[in-house]
Structures are given as C-alpha cells and as structure tokens.
C-alpha cells in the first residue's frame, strides 16, 4: 500500500501578522500537510523573532528565537514589503494563489495596507479570509489592541486562578491566543467545506475574547440563569474532595482527586491508612469538604515521602485519579507523551535541534507531522514567488531590486 499524502495536502494558507494567535492556526494546519506561507518584511519581522527569549545559547538574533520557531514550524517564510514598488501587487498575487488568509493585526490595519477582504475577493472570490483580534471587528471597543496575556485577565481566566481572597494569578503566556487559534482552525476547515459545495469564500471575524467565553460557558450560564458568580478557589472542587496538588519528595507535586466515597476508601488503602475512611471527619464527601485542610495535611504527609511518579502510580493502581504535576522539563520525559510522539525534534540552521509540539490529536490513516523546522527570515522567497506563483526570473529580479524582498 502506498502511503497516503498528509490530510491537508494542497491547502494553501498565507499568514499576515505574527506573534501567536494567527500563526498557531497555521502551525496546526501545516502539521497536517497544508502549505503555509508566513509573510513578514525585513523592516517588520514577526515580533516573536526578537521580543522574547529563549534564544539559542542565550544569544539574541533574528533567526535564533525559540519562541518564534515554536509557533512556526513546518511553514514557509517570505519577506514582502507592500510599500515598495510592485510589493502590493505581489501580495495580491499571493492572495490570489491562496485558499486561506489569516491575519491578526489591529482592526483596520489590513485594509489600510491594501490587503483587506473587499480588495482581495474581487480577484479571488473563493478566498477564505480570517481576521482574529482581541475584541472582534465591531463593537464599541473593536479598536483595542493588546497582548493575549492581559486579555486572559479580561476574559476571566486570571481571576479564576488563585486562592480565594488572594491575588489573581498569571497563566503562562497569551493563554487566550491558543483558545482562539484552536477555535479558529475548525472555522477555516468548515469554510473550506462550504467552498467545495459553492465555490464561495467568506470573511470570518474571530473575537479572541468571545472564544474565551466558550471555555467558561458553564460558569457564564450559571451566572445568567442563577446569578451565581464562580470565584477562584485554589484547587478546590465543588464535588470532589480531596482534590488538590500535594507536595512530594524533591520539590515535586502530585495532583489527585476523589469523586466519591469508594474512591476515598481506595485512596486511604493506597496510603496505608484504611482508618481514614472510617474517621467521622472524612466518612462522607460533605464531611471531607468541611475538614479539607486536615485531610490535605494527611494526604500530603503520605505523598511527601515519595516521588510524584510513585504516588501517582500507587493511586492509579487503586483506581484513584492522580498524576504528577509535570513541569516543562517533565513533559519531555513523560512516558505517555513519549509514546504519542508529542515532541518532534527538528534541526534548524541557526537554532540547531529544537523540540516542536505536535498537536494533541492525530489521524489513523494520514497522521500529521512536524514537516520542517521553523523558517529563517525570508528563506523561501524564491520557492514561493518563483515556483508557487510562477514569477519569471526577470520579474523576480526587478522586484528584488525594488527592495520588495
């Protein structure tokens, strides 16, 4: 049997913008075979190339950012300056070639540079054009720009993290950007389904803030229906108890929870203290919640004498939910993630070997892959403009002389 091509082979995507929210959509599509072209310019490279560590060996450089490369593996990169003679026309040709355009700039910017949907659809009516930004394209605060790390506060996530009565907590990075990217990708693929039937493209307006609401849709419903305001409550759960992260040896932690009396009885057995289940303070879920502090202390005393792996394995063996609190380092040695090939190491010309995230899903017959390391700035100008767009040698050289690349 000949191997099937990747599932999205032939799908052509271009990206205008940068950072995380737009590029993460393209990365996931590229991992399943889409041809994704990341557009930058020499004057305005993707902000992630120079604004955030880590850099290989700690040395800053336009092609050394592990942050940029983490979000842009498996893609092509071109540099195209629309302000130079012939630049805008070339961008239009690229948009005519593409099936999908994703942009994540502030509202109005894409129109201003001459690459708005109305301008592009005239010559490419099948184009699927997605704009993703903080607030969406309309509404009184549409013009708000900003970072996903801060938008995650407006969207409720930071306020729901932390101790009751304590400070809200940061979530690492622009949490909500990835929420919106993973809700944006299905929109694009569904729009393709429509285009297969009708030949028509469309304009998709994604508000990252609104996407975030879907990750809190239950609490929002509870507020609308019952006036209840869910607040941050450390690691507590309204049903399960115990339900927490417990300290282990060597500054490790293990997360564990019991969802009914039977599970708690088994946890007590796993810990070598079957008498806990008989203790009036812990006999029912209600009693356990009332005495959660005392119970957490007992569980922590048991976990504190073992590694997180050993504690989790002992609890799982008794059918109790538990898992080590993996740090970033642990993610690379986790046996289950290793089995799933969650990390794909690729060699980059300047960064050398880097591990790339493979999405949390895969297909049985046409599995995806990290097909290439992240591109260095402008590395694919020749391939994209000459091979994909079919520019002649002279035409290409003239644009080069005009400073378009």
């Amino acid at each position: 049997m000949t191997a099937l091509p990747l599932a999205l082979k032939g799908l052509k995507v271009i990206e205008v913008g940068g950072y995380a929210a737009g590029p993460w959509i393209g990365k996931v599509l590229a991992n399943f075979g889409a041809t994704v072209v990341h557009i930058e310019s020499r004057d305005r490279p993707d902000g992630f190339r120079l604004q955030y560590p880590p850099y290989r060996d700690g040395v800053k450089g336009i092609n050394r950012s592990g942050c940029f490369s983490y979000f842009n593996d498996s893609k092509y990169a071109v540099t195209l300056d629309v302000k130079k003679p012939g630049g805008l026309e070339l961008a239009h040709r690229l948009a005519n070639w593409a099936d999908v355009l994703v942009e994540n700039m502030r509202v109005g910017v894409i129109d201003r540079i001459g690459l708005g949907y109305e301008a592009l659809k005239k010559t490419n009516p099948g184009l699927i054009f997605m704009s993703t930004c903080n607030m969406g394209q309309t509404g009184p605060r549409a013009a708000t720009g900003g970072f996903g790390s801060q938008l995650s506060a407006l969207a409720g996530f930071c306020g729901l993290t932390g101790d009751a009565g304590g400070s809200p907590q940061l979530l690492y990075g622009p949490y909500i950007d990835f929420v919106a990217a993973l809700m944006g990708a299905p929109l694009i693929l569904a729009a393709l389904d429509k285009r297969r039937r009708t030949g028509e493209g469309c304009y998709i307006d994604v508000s990252q803030y609104e996407c975030g609401a879907f990750y809190l849709s239950g609490p929002l419903f509870d507020y609308h229906a019952n006036g209840k305001v869910v607040e941050r409550d450390s690691n507590a759960d309204p049903v399960a108890c115990p339900h927490n992260a417990y300290p282990c040896k060597d500054e490790e932690w293990v997360a564990a929870s019991c969802w009914n009396d039977g599970e708690f009885t088994r946890l007590a057995e796993a810990a070598g203290h079957p008498e806990w289940a008989e203790d009036a303070r812990f006999a029912t879920a209600e009693a356990r919640r009332e005495n959660a502090g005392a119970l957490d202390d007992l569980v922590a005393a048991w976990t504190g004498e073992r590694s997180a792996e050993a504690a989790a394995a002992a609890l799982q063996a008794m059918g109790v939910r538990a898992y080590p609190v993996n740090t970033c380092a642990d993610l690379f040695t986790d046996p289950q993630l290793t089995h799933r090939k969650a990390w794909r190491v690729r060699k980059h010309p300047e960064i050398d070997y880097q591990a790339h995230y493979f999405p949390g899903f895969d297909l049985s017959d046409q599995p995806g892959d990290v097909t290439a390391p992240a591109p260095v700035l402008g590395q694919d100008n020749e391939i994209v403009f000459r091979e994909f767009l079919g520019l002649g040698r002279e035409e290409y050289e003239e644009l080069e002389r005009n400073g378009v690349f």
Binding site: A20, Y70, L187, L189
Partner: protein
C-alpha cells in the same frame, strides 16, 4: 451554514462536549446521545450541549447497542469519550465501526489517548492540567501549583477534537474514506502553556510559577507587579518598555494628573528613554507605589474605559458577571436567548464567530429529555414498530 448538515453522533462526556457544540455552530446536525434518565440540568451540560438534538439511548444494553450500530452506519462523524480499557471503549472499536461505514470519522477523546503505557489511567480536570504542564506554571512560588478553578482541560481537549474531526473531513473529500482521530487531553493541554517548553529545551531553564509578578525582565532581577488591587477587585497592568509601553505609561501618568493623584517619582520619568530592563527593585517599588495608591481608587469598569480611551495596555480582572454584562459582547450580538424549560428563556454563548457579517446561528435550544428520540430514529430509517419496540424495551426514552 459553513458545513453541510453532516450527521454527528455525540456520545461524549464532559471531556468532549464542546467539540459537538462547535460542529453544531458550524452547521452540522449534532445528535447528543445520553442514557435514559440522565440529569441534563447542570450549567456545564446545558452550556455545552445547546444547539444539539437529543436522543435518549441506552448504550449499556443489547437493544440500544444494536440500534446505535445502525445509526453509526449512516453517520458522518462519531464523537465519544469512552475510558480506554472499559467495555464501552471496546464497543466503540474504530476498526469495527469503520468496517461497517468506511466514510465514518470516529473521534475518540480520552485523558491520555487510546494507546500507550498510561492510556488506561483515570483523570479529571486537575490531573489533566497537571499532566499537560499547566499547573506547574500557575500559582504563588511558595504555594501549590494551581489549576483554573473552572475546568479547562475539557474545552482544550474538545476544541482539538473539533479540529481533528474537520481535518479528517477535509481528507475524506479527497479520499472518500473516514478515519479514526485519537485525541489526548493531556497533549491538548500543552497548547495552553505557549512556548514555555522551549525554554527548557533550548536553554535549560525550567520555567515555574511566578505568582502575581512578572520576572525575568530586569537585568538586576527586579520583579514587576502584574495584578493590582483596585476599588472593586483587581486590574492587570504592567510597566512595559518599548513603543506600546511608552504610550501606556504616558497615558497612565496623564490620567493620574487629570484625577489629581499623587505622582511621586513618576512625575520625573522620561518615558521616551525609560528602559524597564535597567531598573533596580528599589526603583520599581518607588514607581509602583503611587500607581498602587491610585488604582485603589479606581473601579474595574473605569479602568477599562480609561485604558481604551488612552490606548493603554492593561485590562481589569473580570469575573463572569463582568463578562456577562460587558457592552462589547452585547453590541456584537454575542448572547443567544433561547427558550428555557418551563417557559421563559435562558442565555447562552451564541455562535462562536461572525461570518460575512452574520453571527453563526443556533438552530436548537437545549433539548428536553427524550425530545428528539422519535424523529432522529425515523430519520435514520427506523420504522414505527422498531421505534415502539425500543421504547418498550426501555433502550430509548421518547417524549
């Protein structure tokens, strides 16, 4: 509608609910299958299962199972969350189901994936947020790792399941064949932690929880405050550098002046040349002290208004009530008011995007128990007598 009316059988528990909801918003005909007598009143259930039809079908018994296999023969997509190693997971056998329906796209959403050394480990939200690395990065440095109080691993897993289902649908348009999509919630959660793993991978620095402060920005090791108590809660504000930082810092100082607030050392800073990477902790503390005093007088809504008008970076720390009452969402027609059981209406998140100027439309309110059982079975070719027999045997409950 973006999707043709694909037939989706949604047998998921909470780990996969949102996947069906997203497909439904995109235009698929999603049939939620629940056991007869299931409690459908929980806010999480209602919010994630709106816009689906409901079939009350017992998948534990023989009659219900053989009915399900007939449905699966006619379906485009199956979504399920059976725990690996259980008898139900064996029933949802990808090979067997696809042999009966080669066009079927079968999506399994499980804590750790369908195969592997820990595939059969059990997990709820807190274990998945731990396993995917998210908890190690949230919380105070001297406190425990934290999860977000409202479960997040469910939507992380389910939205990746929706992507996987539609990647397989795109492939099916070319090959004519469905395939199995295996979703690991643990793997899905890793998407939430941005590029943090690259820090360990490339420079050997293992990022850990930093609490309410921003670290790693000053060469002197100074930390910058991120969350500030305000009059009625907290705001997220950071003294940044760069162009946007300059505009933000200048905007704040102008606002404080307008409000007659004490400026302290802020009055003397030239924000055009200010470089946050060069500040010592004493300097940061001296800058932050008048800001902290000022923010204590400012309500969240006022912060949001001023930050928008003055083009400052920063947002209030909203709770669900703030989000629910945000005029921005109202203006964009985000909320969908749908008929509620017993009359009146209930408010849901509306369609999750605006396409060609129109918000994706919800076709169905939250279904009542057994509401669509008869019509769904009839549409899948069950005769009146067969339906009656299923109801008689209690494999199906219908209204």
């Amino acid at each position: 509608m973006l999707l043709e009316p694909l037939r989706v059988l949604d047998c998921t528990g909470q780990l996969g609910w949102l996947a069906g909801r997203l497909l439904a918003d995109l235009g698929a005909d999603v049939i939620k299958i629940e056991p007869p007598g299931a409690d459908l009143s929980a806010p999480d259930w209602r919010a994630n299962n709106v816009n689906k039809r409901l079939l009350a079908l017992d998948l534990e018994g023989e009659a219900g199972r053989s009915a399900f296999l007939r449905l699966a023969k006619e379906a485009d997509i199956l979504l399920e969350t059976a725990q690996p190693g259980t008898e139900l997971a064996a029933f949802f056998d990808p090979e067997k189901l696809r042999a009966a329906n080669p066009r079927l796209i079968h999506v399994s959403v499980t804590p750790f994936g369908r195969t592997g050394p820990r595939a059969e480990w059990k997990a709820s939200d807190i274990e998945l947020m731990a396993a995917g690395g998210a908890m190690s990065l949230a919380g105070e440095p001297d406190g425990p790792p934290l999860r977000v109080t409202a479960p997040q691993s469910n939507p992380w897993a389910a939205s990746q399941a929706a992507v996987g289902a539609l990647v397989a649908l795109t492939a099916r348009a070319a090959t004519g064949r469905g395939q199995h999509v295996d979703v690991s919630a643990q793997g899905a959660v890793i998407a939430s932690i941005a590029h943090a793993p690259a820090s360990w991978d490339l420079i050997g620095v293992n990022p850990l929880r930093a609490g309410a402060f921003m670290t790693g920005r000053s060469v002197h090791g100074a930390v910058y405050r991120v969350f500030w108590p305000c009059k009625d809660g907290h705001v997220n504000f950071i003294i940044y550098g760069g162009v946007a930082g300059r505009r933000t810092n200048e905007g704040l100082v102008a606002w404080m002046k307008d409000a007659g607030a004490e400026l302290g050392m802020l009055a003397d800073i030239d924000w055009a040349t200010f470089d946050p990477t060069q500040a010592t902790q004493d300097e940061v503390d001296a800058m932050e002290s008048p800001i902290a005093a000022f923010f204590l007088t400012v309500p969240k809504a006022e912060f949001l208004r001023q930050a928008f008008e003055r083009e400052m970076l920063g947002y209030p720390v909203n709770n669900v009530a703030d989000i629910a009452n945000d005029p921005q969402l109202e203006a964009r027609g985000f909320w969908a008011d749908l008929p509620a059981p017993g009359g009146g209406s209930e408010r849901h998140c509306g369609g999750f995007a605006v396409v060609d100027g129109e918000r994706l439309k919800l076709s169905w309110p939250v279904p009542a128990p057994g509401q669509h059982s008869r019509e769904v079975l009839a549409e899948f070719g069950f005769g009146a007598e067969e339906i009656a027999a299923l109801i008689e045997s209690r494999a199906v409950v219908a209204r």
